[in-house]
């Protein structure tokens, strides 16, 4: 999935920033959530030399998995200077994700950061299945 095809809705949170994301199934939901987070940070489609990497994340349940999954993608940006542009989740259970990610190196001169997400919080984290759709609520620390 490409980062610019994801859609999300902003929640009104006084200090930080929250979103709700919906997906057809957990795979779709987790891919969309990751792309939404990247798009909040870097609005323009990022360009640069792409690299591939494998990511494997474990959690206690879907909600914990969502925080850890997004946290890993955020760390790639904050700690490794890698902007995730494309995500393919290869397998997902409620406690584990295996994914292949495409990244480009962050270039502060070219990639304008519109909002710096500093952390993915557990506050009001929710991943639920409602009427055949999957929905996540996520609050980010800015």
């Amino acid at each position: 999935m490409d980062s610019h095809s994801a859609t999300f809705t902003f929640l009104d949170h006084t200090a930080d920033l929250g979103i709700t994301v919906t997906g057809l199934d957990p795979k779709d939901l987790f891919e969309k959530a990751a792309h939404s987070m990247m798009r909040i940070m870097i609005e323009e489609r990022p360009s640069g030399k792409t690299s591939l990497l494998q990511l494997s994340v474990s959690g206690e349940d879907y909600a914990d998995l969502m925080v850890r999954w997004l946290g890993e993608i955020l760390y790639l940006f904050q700690g490794e200077g890698k902007v995730v542009t494309c995500i393919e989740i290869c397998s997902i259970t409620q406690s584990h994700i295996n994914a292949t990610l495409q990244t480009v190196p962050f270039n502060p001169k070219e990639h304008e950061v519109s909002a710096e997400i500093k952390a993915v919080t557990y506050h009001r984290i929710e991943v639920v299945s409602e009427n055949g759709r999957w929905k996540a609520t996520i609050i980010f620390d800015l």
């Binding site: 006084t14 850890r68 946290g71 904050q78 502060p108 919080t121 984290i125």
Partner: protein
């Protein structure tokens, strides 16, 4: 969820103990501020904190309280060392986010024509914004030294004087820092961010003292009307964030595996018993981040002095920049407090709250022993900031704590919507405030209307006796990330 409130007096509101709450909540606010506080989820968060084991007295909220994650921002809670907990969410991601105020011997009318130039030079020389890196690159062993020695490391490297340490909370280094508990990720993120301002609500401001409320204390703080001051708001950068994130995840996992004797109303309140090894390790890591933040603000002060000397072409004695005080507002500290007539050691969490020690307190440096601790309350970009002095009421009512700022009123999304079609930069310039920022949306998100009226917040802490107003500072120039 509707939270019941009982008005105790003009400045205090009680949240009665109900349900799983172990103690009542206590909110410092006037009637007007309470209206906006009730608009978000912050009172529910005060009640949630009151459910945590070992909480003592009240779950407290300062008048700048607003909706955070886990703890409210502006929240203070103290826990018994034997049966209480420590919560990384009660400290926040930006461990030892704090304020540093420097005085000068310059008068604002002397430098007014040069403000724009000063702002540009500071903006150029002080790294800010996302992904910014500092001029000091740390090897792993040097980073370990910073994490243990804090501001003293920066002073040793030539970024300040021993006198600066006297005027820094905890002399710029918390005890108990142990870098061996840190993850490789935390160490990596700390290596190149020392001496950087950060983004979001972090700032460096050139100000003028425009009103003195208490002549005696102001004189003790070396403040005079018309004087130029510099205010820095910054923290432990990615290093502190990573440490909080690492321990939060460990505590979530430990909560999930532990047979818990209590229900956690919000996962972000994940915590560890203060007697556990996990709590010891978190506090040791937190102290590393706190010390990093003090070294960071010490270096930012040094960069400011260097920049202003060059820009104004003056000698150090003509600038006369001195540290008034440096205080943190995101921290958990083991402190002694009087509970039911007995001195008891407690772990006080201050998340978006500043320590405020009254005159005579043993932890005060000699220079402030008779007047009380300088309490630094930044306004938002474009509005006034305040200097207060700690008062006895803080020891009686708030575990020696006070508000930390204006407190957000509008979410960032609402602020950006409200600023649509407006030039915030121009509006501020019309008021005589020159601003430079790196982030595209920062000025809109941080515009004055996005915050509560800081003077109202300060009047509440003054009226409630937590701290006394000393002086007001008006902004002249701001740099933001």
């Amino acid at each position: 969820m509707t939270i019941k409130l009982e008005k105790l007096d003009d400045y205090r509101w009680l949240i009665p103990q109900t349900g799983a709450m172990r103690v009542p909540g206590l909110v410092f606010a006037d009637r007007d501020l309470m209206k906006s506080i009730q608009d978000d989820q912050s009172l529910t968060q005060v009640a949630n904190v009151a459910t945590l084991p070992g909480i003592v007295g009240h779950s407290l909220a300062m008048p700048d309280i607003h909706w955070g994650y886990g703890f409210p921002i502006g929240g203070v809670a103290a826990f018994d060392l034997n049966n209480g907990i420590v919560s990384p969410g009660g400290v926040g991601y930006d461990i030892n986010c704090g304020c540093r105020l420097m005085t000068t011997v310059l008068r604002a009318d002397e430098i007014k024509p040069l403000i724009k130039e000063m702002v540009s030079a500071l903006f150029k020389n002080i790294p800010s914004g996302v992904g910014s890196t500092g001029t000091v690159h740390l090897s792993k062993s040097k980073e370990t030294e910073v994490a243990i020695k804090g501001a003293a490391w920066a002073v040793k490297m030539g970024f300040g004087t021993a006198e600066d340490l006297e005027r820094t909370e905890d002399r710029g280094a918390m005890e108990g820092a142990d870098p061996s508990v840190l993850s490789e990720r935390a160490i990596k993120r700390g290596q190149n961010q020392l001496g950087t301002l950060g983004s979001g609500n972090h700032f460096l401001e050139i100000q003028v003292v425009d009103q003195i409320y208490d002549k005696e204390k102001a004189s003790h703080f070396n403040l005079f009307e018309g004087q130029v001051t510099i205010f820095i708001h910054s923290g432990s950068r990615g290093f502190g964030h990573q440490i909080c994130d690492d321990f939060l995840k460990i505590m979530i996992k430990s909560d999930a595996n532990r047979q818990k004797s209590f229900h956690l109303p919000d996962r972000q309140l994940a915590c560890a018993p203060l007697q556990s090894d996990l709590a010891r390790r978190y506090l040791a890591g937190m102290a590393c981040a706190a010390n990093y933040a003090w070294a960071n603000r010490q270096i930012l002060m040094h960069l400011t002095i260097e920049t202003l000397l060059k820009t104004l072409s003056i000698r150090p004695e003509e600038l006369g920049m001195k540290l008034l005080y440096d205080v943190c507002h995101n921290i958990a500290k083991k402190e002694q407090h009087l509970i039911d007539g007995e001195q008891v050691m407690l772990c006080v969490h201050r998340k978006g709250a500043t320590r405020a020690l009254p005159p005579g307190h043993a932890l005060l440096p000699e220079v402030y022993r008779t007047v009380g601790q300088p309490v630094l309350i930044p306004g938002d970009m474009g509005t006034n900031s305040y200097i207060l002095a700690g008062a006895e009421g803080a020891m009686e009512h708030s575990f020696g704590s006070c508000c930390h700022g204006a407190g957000r009123l509008l979410s960032r999304t609402k602020a950006v919507k409200k600023a649509k079609g407006r030039s915030i930069h121009r509006e501020l310039e019309d008021k005589g405030i020159f601003v430079q920022s790196r982030g595209k949306r920062t000025l809109k998100e941080e515009m004055p209307e996005a915050y509560k009226d800081v003077s109202q917040v300060v009047d509440v802490v003054h009226g409630a006796g937590l701290a006394r107003k000393v002086a007001r500072l008006r902004p002249l120039g701001v740099i933001k990330g």
